[in-house]
């Protein structure tokens, strides 16, 4: 059941305040949602993304600009490849869907490609939903939805998502198609990139399932998506079915938890604002008012990472060296705390973490000849 309207409106209002006057909300796309789900413990990221704050602009205003960017070569190549995949009314794309996912169906000799243009994201979402319904009600036909628009409720406000394509099969089931420009070389591809594509597709699957649930009978949204990539060293498309059930389950659970955004918002002092127009000191204070869980993995996923890393280092946190570092340190969380415990200057010797640290320090010193050396050859 959706929350009462007034509450949703109040939250939206509050989030707009956090962005700052006249700062437009940055749309939450599937990539951002998937990244959000990858570090869900970070409240800072949750509230900034939830409020639609432009984190890249914020990072620059804080004096720790992000290092993200896209090369225009990659962009050009990506666009050219997608155009090639979708040429001729998507003939090649549909052939791949048929071959990889639905071989028993009639081959897609011709397919419907409904017009999806409309005004504004809401309009396009409605147009997509209509096209999906019509396609589902036309059994025995293939339908290709090129850049449809889907809405997914994220923390009380809709996020608009634009998959590369959605295909409606002759049996009325729906498939998400993701087109990427990294190659499939001899049938395999960069596993980290495929994993990211799978998480992104899982978000689309969830959004499609919400559309499907409003139809009666609800059509099946397939949990195997089609990943289309260039084959080997050519620009010919090839494809592989990717099972996204796991990613879908994880993302669904994470999105459900994201409703805590309003709880986070409630903990912020009145007047907190993340507008990049504000002076750096004021912004730093605003950002500091909501805790982050920085880990080095953030560097490749979040625009704010260099700022958070600097803060994490300044506070002497051991996790700035990696999450795994903490595994054997028990309650000790600061660099100086660990080192002084290892030197025997602090800590309870009966604490197994402290005892192990001291043994490690003794063995290390011995091996480096800083104390008595035991021949060990």
């Amino acid at each position: 059941m959706p929350p009462p309207r007034t509450r949703g409106t109040a939250l939206r209002h509050r989030l707009a305040e956090l962005r700052g006057p006249d700062v437009p909300a940055k749309a939450l796309d599937a990539r951002a949602l998937a990244a959000l789900a990858a570090n869900p413990g970070c409240r800072r990221r949750a509230i900034l993304d939830g409020a639609g704050v432009n984190k890249a602009a914020l990072a620059s205003a804080l004096g720790s600009p992000s290092a993200f960017g896209q090369s225009q070569f990659a962009l050009t190549r990506g666009n050219a490849f997608e155009a090639k995949v979708k040429a001729d009314g998507g003939a090649e794309l549909l052939r791949l869907v048929h071959e990889k996912l639905d071989r028993t169906a009639e081959p897609p000799a011709h397919a419907r490609v409904p017009e999806l243009t409309a005004t504004g994201p809401e309009g396009r979402t409605a147009r997509t939903a209509l096209a999906l319904r019509e396609a589902t009600e036309a059994p025995g036909e293939w339908t290709l939805l090129d850049h449809p628009m889907l809405a997914l409720d994220v923390a009380g406000s809709p996020a608009f998502l634009e998959p590369d394509a959605v295909v409606v099969h002759p049996d009325g089931s729906w498939t998400v198609v993701e087109i990427k420009s990294f190659p499939m070389l001899d049938g395999s591809a960069d596993a980290a990139k495929v994993g990211a594509a799978a998480r992104q597709s899982a978000v689309y699957v969830l959004a499609l399932e919400q559309v499907a649930a409003r139809l009666n009978p609800a059509p099946r949204v397939r949990h195997r998506v089609l990943l289309v990539c260039p084959k080997d060293f050519s620009n010919h498309p090839t494809a592989s079915a990717v099972d996204v059930r796991k990613q879908r389950a994880v993302t669904a659970r994470q999105l459900a938890r994201l409703t805590r955004i309003e709880d986070i918002a409630d903990t912020l002092p009145d007047g907190t604002c993340f507008s990049p127009e504000l002076p750096a000191a004021e912004l730093t204070a605003a950002v500091e008012s909501v805790p982050a869980t920085y880990a080095p993995e953030c560097l490749s996923a979040c625009e704010l990472a260099f700022h958070c890393r600097a803060r994490s280092r300044a506070s002497d946190a051991v996790t700035s060296l990696g999450r795994s570092v903490r595994a054997e340190l028990g309650d000790l969380t600061t660099v100086e705390g660990v080192l002084s415990a290892a030197r025997g200057e602090s800590g309870d010797p009966d604490d197994p973490a402290v005892a192990a640290l001291r043994r490690a320090a003794r063995l290390r010193a011995e091996a480096l000849g800083r104390e008595a050396v035991t021949a060990c050859r």
Binding site: A67, H236, P296, V318, G322, V325, R364, A375
Partner: protein, 534 residues
């Protein structure tokens, strides 16, 4: 991460300098390595943009593809690369020594010793980072199935003569790099991170500039400051002061400098093609040369800092003495190199796209064996590595407090002395667990008998029964039994690796694994298309 390496990292944070993670060097460094710093074009599957390559740190070869989408220019690049790399490899292929190898006699099926050639030394490729190794593999894959005009006069886009051969060699190097402890192809970041612990995470250690900043910070600066500069500092044009070690380039470089330069080059080329007379052509050729020179300068400016960093890393690594068991592993690299040389000479086809079931299983088994060997050898060579094994209960060191002679039962009693060792370590010794110590470079085994008494200082008295390496007689050979007062180190892991089971020949692949793969057909070349990137 073990607590010892965690401590080293934290000490690095606290002192502002990388701390030792090894006391000796665990990889072979050739006296004349071939350093290769490649760059690739964003968004393309391994289309090279350029490279610095060579064995002379002061005079690298600069190779550039001014328009990466142009097949002919790419072939020129690969051909030039072959001209540098293949002579380097060939120099090692001709210098051989006699060696023996066990082979199965095809007639009798027995194992016999065969006299063979073993290359006296092997070439060594060094790239800046792990991504560089992947790029070497990708280049190898892209070239080894190419056809030259000589091989196939009909082929629409013949590759220059030595390009397929270079592809086979790069493939071999990249495949060998997957074997733990091998040194034929090394990534500088991996080797540096093996020997030093920095005050940053392992992820950040993948950045060669930042890693070196911790190991070798410029005067007065802390590692953290220098690393931050290496990661992020930009000039007034928004370009990174320390360009990424590649092969990927910084998007700001692509968009602001490279793209306009390539555009100028394209325009100059089009203009030249449209020239109407010789004079005009001369002029426009001049423009084209200028445009090309500009791109070369750009590529040089992005690769030269990395090139210098790799050599600086080599300097630092050479300061560490080589560990004693590195030589043995390097000999395996020489065998690997010689083996591939022989396959090339015998006219065998290039490595297939995919391993068959038997080859895959053999490779996995060999790598697991090499991993175990590497872990044991590094610990035996390096007290700091051994300290980690002692901390985790896989080894213990201490003083011999008592030796009691004892003998085995039976008709011919052999010596089985009982040795008591006092240690502060806490090994995970199970009932009758086997332990090993190194005796003249060979493992001597002993058996855990039990703990003795309960010393008050928290140390333990461990009683062991020595089992072997004491000679054939009733009395042990001189020096083969520990003596009271000896400082010894015993490991719970074995020092040497047994060979695995022999797998069936590929033609004998059983039904559970798809049966025999059938007649070997030479792999087809990749399909060629007008817009291929490689």
């Amino acid at each position: 991460m073990s607590l010892i390496s965690t401590l080293a990292r934290l000490e690095a944070v606290s002192t502002g300098r990388a701390q030792p993670a090894a006391t000796v060097r665990h990889r072979r460094l050739s006296e004349r390595p071939l350093v290769f710093v490649p760059l690739t074009t964003a968004g393309e599957a391994g289309a090279p943009l350029g490279a610095l390559v060579g064995t002379d740190r002061d005079a690298p070869h600069l190779l550039v593809v001014p328009q990466p989408r142009d097949r002919d220019l790419r072939f020129t690049f690969l051909s030039e690369l072959a001209d540098v790399v293949l002579p380097y490899i060939d120099a090692y292929a001709v210098d051989v020594e006699a060696a023996e190898r066990n082979e199965t006699d095809p007639e009798t099926g027995k194992r016999v010793k065969v006299e063979v050639e073993l290359c006296a030394n092997a070439p060594q490729l060094i790239v800046p980072s792990r991504a560089g190794i992947d790029f070497v593999r990708l280049l190898g894959r892209s070239m080894r199935f190419r056809r030259t005009a000589e091989q196939d006069p009909e082929t629409p886009y013949p590759a220059p003569p030595r390009v397929p051969l270079l592809g086979r060699w790069l493939t071999h190097f990249a495949e060998r790099a997957r074997v733990p402890g091998s040194s034929l192809l090394l990534a500088m970041t991996d080797v540096l991170a093996r020997h030093w612990a920095t005050g940053q995470s392992t992820l950040e250690d993948q950045h060669l500039g930042a890693l070196l900043a911790w190991i070798d910070p410029p005067g007065g600066e802390t590692g953290a400051e220098a690393a931050l500069r290496a990661e992020l500092a930009r000039d007034r044009d928004g370009q990174l002061l320390c360009p990424p070690a590649g092969p990927a380039t910084d998007p700001a470089f692509d968009n602001k400098l490279l793209a306009p330069a390539i555009e100028r080059y394209d325009r100059a080329r089009t203009a030249l093609a449209a020239a109407e007379d010789g004079l005009q052509a001369d002029d426009r050729l001049g423009d084209l040369t200028t445009a090309e020179r500009e791109i070369r300068a750009l590529v040089a400016s992005r690769t030269r800092p990395t090139w210098d960093a790799v050599w600086r890393g080599l300097d630092r690594l050479r300061e560490l003495p080589e560990a004693s068991r590195v030589e043995e592993r390097w000999t395996r690299d020489r065998w690997s190199f010689t083996g591939h040389r022989d396959r090339v000479l015998a006219g065998e086809p290039p490595q297939p796209r995919r391993d068959d079931a038997v080859t895959a299983a053999n490779k996995l088994a060999a790598r697991e064996r090499e991993q175990a060997r590497l872990e044991a050898q590094e610990a035996l060579d390096d007290p700091l590595v051994m300290a980690g094994r002692r901390l985790s209960g896989e080894a213990f060191a201490g003083e011999v407090t008592e030796v009691v002679m004892a003998y085995s039962e039976g008709k011919r009693p052999s010596p089985r002395p009982l040795v008591t060792v006092r240690t502060d370590d806490r090994p995970h010794l199970g009932e009758r667990a086997k332990v090993f110590r190194s005796l003249g470079g060979k493992p001597q085994s002993a058996e855990f008998v039990g703990y003795e008494g309960d010393p008050e200082d928290g140390s333990a008295l461990i009683v062991l029964r020595v089992l072997d390496k004491m000679g054939r007689g009733k009395e042990p050979e001189e020096g083969s039994v520990p003596e009271k007062g000896d400082e010894l180190c015993f490991t719970l892991f074995e020092h040497e690796q047994r060979g695995g089971a022999k797998l069936p020949d590929p033609e004998q692949t059983p039904w559970t694994h798809g049966g025999p793969p059938g007649e070997q057909v030479p792999e087809a070349a990749d399909a060629l298309t007008e817009e291929d990137v490689l």
